[in-house]
Symmetry: C2
DNA sequence: AAGTGGTCTAGACCACAGG
DNA sequence: CTGTGGTCTAGACCACTTC
């Protein structure tokens, strides 16, 4: 019973069989697959083997499982799942180890502007902490970016935000308040350097710049920090890698 | 023996214990952790439970496992692992379903320019297929981007690249040649719209634009396709979400 | 009450790394 | 050769959903 086939473990063969069946439409989308017990019987395998196989389907987003209910087919085809992994949070702000954030302004503001309200997911009149900062690296004398940071009212008493920092602001929030960031959203776009920002980063108004707008979101799905950074075109680029999720392992 | 604590399953408690110990330096980086058998004894748990716990450490990149050797500590602190998942490949080129690629030029070229050689990871003199295309969406009458695509000599006989496409070029390569993309690298930066590209996308030279340079890499680590796209500033932005890898489940 | 998936036990055999 | 992690079995109890 062990070596029906070459080298692949039993649960991978079984996973592939189930994938094929789902693709072939044996189990309709939205319907329940056979239960673990049934699969054990059908394939003459133990529950361990069957569960290892189904785990693969789950990680490929082909099925959903629910205790007391069963295994429901979500999708028919294997959607290619690439993923990007960051070795550390600093990868996000790629100017890594040798980069520093210099705070140049710190104040509380009452948010009113519509565009800001939507970024912060806030209601008119909330009082957020607002920082302005410049990002420096060791190599370059000019700053590589100008950054505006907004911090949720609940954390506006945060301390330690002054002078030069070499840790991300949101990790300071995590440390001081025991908050936990569960998600980051970001949007990258090209803009013209504005008149007000240009002199701060020693660039010229109208020159192209990369704008990155980030939202830091906690477990309760609240924006607890947002950052808008503006990078002169030749001083900064954003690099990332995606690896495809292979079925084996 | 079952309910020593509240609700968390035993393997998660055990995982947390091991994480704490690694952080505290109980097991030095590079050294071997106790074997599964030892951990079973230490914690009075079965191998299943111990293995489930260690799986968590592996997925957090804290340890490496090697059959016949053991479990080796890789890192001391929990490097925050965020990851971005794409439901489909089309997420990468976010102009999803309703976007089309119009091929406007197709030719073979001999690569010579240094900048191109490094993007393609090619040697001087190789003959690649070169495409020029425009990206359209339904909503906008103007194109949202101009794209140059380079395809590795091995696949330059590819067919079907003409007119308007609504599938990514690299998936056509995968289909026709049985190749498999395992990794995608991309770099985003802001540039000035050049004189040659501006009229193609109905924009103006000197205006800010988002440049995305992508490399599609196969299992043997070869670049099999590269694409450079240029998007006028207000017509396109690049959005992504990262979720933190939580320990529980 | 019956059945589901989630957790857990106590065994087993295997391929492989190391002395 | 011994010991490791990888795979696999045949059981078990639980919380939960569904009827």
């Amino acid at each position: 019973m062990k070596k029906l086939s070459n080298k692949q473990p039993r649960y991978l063969q079984l996973a592939q069989t189930l994938i094929n069946e789902i693709e072939a439409g044996t189990y309709a989308i939205g319907s329940l697959m056979p239960t673990e017990h049934e699969l054990c019987e059908q394939f003459g395998a133990s529950r361990f083997t069957v569960r290892e196989a189904i785990k693969r389907l789950v990680s490929m987003d082909l099925v959903d499982r629910q205790p007391g209910v069963g295994t429901r087919v979500k999708a028919k085809r294997i959607e290619s799942v690439y993923h990007q992994k960051m070795q550390s949070i600093n990868d996000l702000q790629q100017y890594t180890k040798d980069a520093e954030l210099e705070i140049i302004k710190k104040e509380t503001i009452i948010v009113e502007k519509k565009s800001l309200l939507s970024i912060l997911d806030a209601k008119k009149g909330e009082t957020w902490l607002h920082l302005e900062a410049l990002r420096y690296t060791i190599e370059s004398d000019k700053p590589i970016g100008f950054i505006e940071i907004y911090i949720h009212p609940a954390f506006r008493s945060i301390s330690g935000l002054k002078g030069r920092l070499n840790v991300p602001v949101f990790s300071i929030i995590e440390d001081q308040f025991g908050e936990y960031i569960s998600e980051i959203r970001q949007e990258l776009s090209a803009i013209e350097m504005s008149k007000s920002v240009a002199p701060l980063v020693m660039s010229e108004a109208g020159a192209p710049a990369l704008k990155i707008c980030r939202q830091y979101i906690d477990l309760r799905n609240q924006v607890i920090e947002a950052a808008i950074s503006i990078h002169p075109s030749k001083r900064f680029s954003y690099i990332e890698r995606f690896k495809r999720n292979l079925i084996a392992r």
